[in-house]
Subunit: 210 residues, 4 copies
DNA sequence: TATGAATGAGTCTTCATTCAT
DNA sequence: AATGAATGAAGACTCATTCAT
């Protein structure tokens, strides 16, 4: 229940923190493959080559472990969004950069992303709310860029909320097939996706099909 | 474990079949909300207002129930794809109709769709393989339409596989917010989505942004 | 945590309720012998000749089981105190009757009483508070009788609070050796205990020794 | 399991012995509050401000720690009884002195006493037997004094075994509310308790009420 | 002396499922 | 058709204890 069991993570030794992060990453793969609830502590122990007691020495609880995975995703995605904001540029450029950043996270951490997108309801109470809020903040950033493009005339007159959902679906859903080991880089996907989307919402496009 | 337990469904009375379908639909909502593994038989009993013995009289097993939900989704989606194929028309029209059909399934059965997309790995062995094949068949249908459009010159020269993933992500992911009870109809979403996507992959678009 | 898990007990069949009471009594013996925390669910299962699942069908949780044992004691003790109050009589008679009633509970349910007296801190939160209050109410009843005796002149001028503790210690502590199976009846103990205590606090006693 | 682990305590340095005694006393408070089984090694470590390894350096095992607490109580109680025996005097004086000595132990070490009275069954095998024997010896000392008083005619003709239980209950049970920090001294309690008890078993008392 | 990582048997509890009624 | 008692394997988690450092 409690978001932070045992000592605060910051009080731990670097060795402990390193081992913990390795456990978080290894566990993300298991959760991604079989699902959070279907993955038992015993499997996590085996995958991390640790006994039950030792595993709990690092994770606090199974739910804490899940939260750590999801937190990592949000942290990276939000950091990318911030970099884009600082970079500035026209809405179309912003959107392209946001896609590039997002796909790089998916490409680097596809298991974490899948767990993030699938297992939000597995978090209890306070933690679920907090994650939902951060997720909303990201989604609203996309909407804001779309609104700006409409205002500036770069994009045609579209529904920002609905269009943001189209963009998010297109990009988020890549966790199913975009992986570090695979033949595609984040760039390989980000560029054609941006081409489709920007052409799809550009002013002349709207005039022609609407 | 066994894919088909008890008598074949077709041998049952209409009353039994009706009750079973009601149970499947009710259970889909629970699975959608809390996840397949996190939902217990006891919850299913309460939601369906049935004792454990009676519930098992209808469902066979928990996994059979899950398979029934997923089967319903595939059935409807494949039926829509078939209707589109019979209707004929240019690749752009085909793609628009496929989107419309798909979103109508999502709109009508958002819980079933979410369960379908989330819980495929919960199926064991043979059943998982079979569902995966049917899913692949649908995805290849999208790719085929894209290839046809490229061939006919209606679409610019794109990667059909990658573009199909963009289209699928955009449409499948709507289960998160598109629901029967909501303010949006399937049409409300299908039209703007098609506008974006077709403008995004049309010939002139490619020339302009590529 | 929740004081009442599963369905309310009153909704159960008479057969269920009977079996549950048997389990409560059998378990009281185990808790009395080895202590609440030292007694495992497995031991309870064996003693009650039930599997784990079946045991939980009746008990809700281990702590619920403990609470049921303690509740039974408080129920019986308070009922005895009420009978005495209705019977009326001089403070000395009241005290004698209270001793008789209390020792009859100890004699009939020595295991339950031992569990009650030893394992109050094992109850969590709300339940602990509630039991403490009921216990206090009983202790205050003893003090009230003592005060009445002092006021009426039947007892010498004593400290009611301290004297009540003497009386309670003398009587409560009998759970250690007073048992249904043993050679002594409740009466065998209640009479000499009353003789000691009443002679000890009577007016002439106070004049002689005080 | 083994009654004496590690080196004999007498071979340790005075510093070690001092620290160990502090640990024994601190732990007694924890055991008193939550119970022996409910108190974990981790809690003991925190309360004693020591790591696990360091704690074990002093305690040997959790059960050794419990035994040390109980041993301390028996040691002090038996020493008091011996002092009384050496002091001599009439049975009534002996009983009063025994009460005074016993209550002084309770007053000084209420936590230890509670642990002693509650957790005897937590000791395994040989140790339990040994403690039981020493406890019995103390109880028989009380009975002996009562028998002497009956023989000498100072007390009326009472059942020594039963009367000893009354006396023991009255005095032992004070651990529940008699504490070093509280407003009452051992004397504050011992005097009125003796008044009650001696008046209650004195010759004239027996004649009057029996 | 002291640390804290590691062990693995043990804790209570829940699970999907069966079956006598 | 339906009930709910029973099963027992599996669930997440904690325990006292050890040991390399």
């Amino acid at each position: 229940m409690s978001p932070a069991r045992g000592r605060d993570e910051s009080q731990r030794s670097p060795k402990w923190r390193g081992r913990r992060e390795a456990i978080v990453d290894t566990s993300a793969r298991l959760f991604a493959r079989r699902g959070y609830h279907a993955t038992g502590i015993a499997e996590l122990c085996e995958a991390n080559d640790l006994g039950k007691g030792a595993l709990y020495h690092y994770i606090g609880s199974k739910e804490d472990l899940l939260a750590a995975i999801q937190d990592k995703v949000l942290e990276e995605v939000m950091a990318g969004a911030e970099r884009v904001e600082h970079a500035g540029g026209a809405p179309s450029e912003q959107l392209a950069m946001l896609g590039q950043e997002l796909l790089e996270v998916v490409h680097r951490l596809p298991d974490h992303v899948r767990v993030f997108l699938h297992e939000l309801p597995a978090l209890s109470g306070a933690r679920a709310t907090q994650f939902d809020e951060r997720r909303r903040a990201y989604e609203e950033r996309i909407e804001a860029v779309l609104r700006a493009g409409v205002r500036s005339g770069e994009f045609r007159d579209l529904d920002p909320w609905l269009t943001a959902r189209a963009w998010l679906g297109m990009h988020n859903y890549t966790y199913l097939w975009l992986q570090s080991g695979g033949r595609l880089t984040a760039q390989d996907v980000a560029t054609p996706f941006s081409e489709i989307f920007l052409a799809g919402i550009g002013r002349s496009a709207g005039e022609r099909t609407g």
